[in-house]
Amino acid sequence: MTERPGYTPDHIVRAMSLPRRVGVLVAGLGGLAGSTTIGLLWATEPGALPAGTKLVFAAMILVGVTWACFAGWALIRRPLFAVDRVITGWLAATFSFLTTGGTVAVAVNRTSTVGVLAAGGLGLILIVVSSTMLIRARAYRATLLARKRELEDHKP
């Protein structure tokens, strides 16, 4: 049988490019952080916003949420290797801290104590979840590195 496959191995692994996936992740987390901040600004605005401003805020929130959904969908469809998980963990932790800082600052300036506690509580949940993801990702990578060393030591 002299037939050959109609595609190459490169075709299979091309979709696994790390920069492309990190780019998608940054866009998704950026969209999520942006839409959360704009939503908070809108919710804590003391007076009624003009119709045009409301329309722009709604559009920006929609764009941010759409990017977050797209990133989630794109990452779920692809395998997450150890380095991807560690990068995801770091990015998620960074965005969680930044978003929490931003929302608490807005709440302090614009809302009551209850609002500050609510923003702080939500931020704390985000930080705990993202930090747990990061810790687990680093532990998974450490386990694989140990396994790799073990296999290399058995190399003849």
Binding site: M1, E3, P5, G6, Y7, T8, P9, D10, H11, I12, V13, M16, S17, L18, R77, R78, P79, L80, F81, A82, V83, D84, R141, L144, L145, R147, K148, L151, E152, H154, K155, P156
Partner: protein
């Protein structure tokens, strides 16, 4: 380093996120996987579609592979599942009854890969796939058993029957046993 050790190290490196190791792993198994699918299905175009689906499923599940040294049987198990799904639409044959043969006969001595490949055409699916895995991909009996999800003894008996069918087919085509 033997094939199993080489694959295990490449799998762990790929699980860590080493794209070169992933490319090397795919490079090693690209042709064997395609040939397995091609011999089980009609037409190279269909083999391309199915084998690409197999790679997509395998790479998605690769980070969860707990035993990297079992990569080959794991990959062929995924391939077999995809092939079975495609064949199910075409074949509705009843399960053949497994025999009790021990699996050793004189045909082993004279078989070579070209003869096996030629004689495979026209064999029933179950016999064809066990010959492909054992002779053309050099999987061990235990590995064949894992892929086919049957005991090693059944692999032996299936090989015994497959070789007899293959011998008959080759004799018909003019080869002497």
């Amino acid at each position: 380093m033997d094939r199993v050790g080489r694959d295990a190290l490449l799998v762990v490196r790929a699980q860590l996120g080493d794209r070169k190791a992933l490319a090397e792993l795919v490079g090693h198994w690209h042709d064997p996987l395609w040939r397995y699918v091609r011999r089980m299905l009609d037409g190279p175009g269909r083999a391309d579609d199915v084998s690409q689906d197999v790679w997509a499923s395998a790479l998605k599940a690769l980070p969860r592979l707990q035993q990297p040294e079992r990569f080959a049987p794991w990959l062929f198990t995924i391939a077999r599942r995809s092939v079975t799904n495609h064949l199910r639409e075409k074949y509705t044959q009843a399960d053949p009854v497994d025999g009790d043969g021990t699996g050793d006969d004189d045909i082993s001595a004279v078989l070579d890969r070209a003869q096996v490949a030629e004689g495979l055409v026209g064999l029933p699916v179950r016999e064809r796939e066990v010959l492909i895995l054992f002779y053309l991909h050099d999987l061990a009996l235990e590995e064949c058993a894992q892929v086919l999800q049957i005991p090693s003894g059944t692999v032996k008996s299936r090989l015994f029957r497959a070789r007899r069918l293959l011998r008959d087919s080759l004799v018909e085509k003019g080869y002497s046993s």
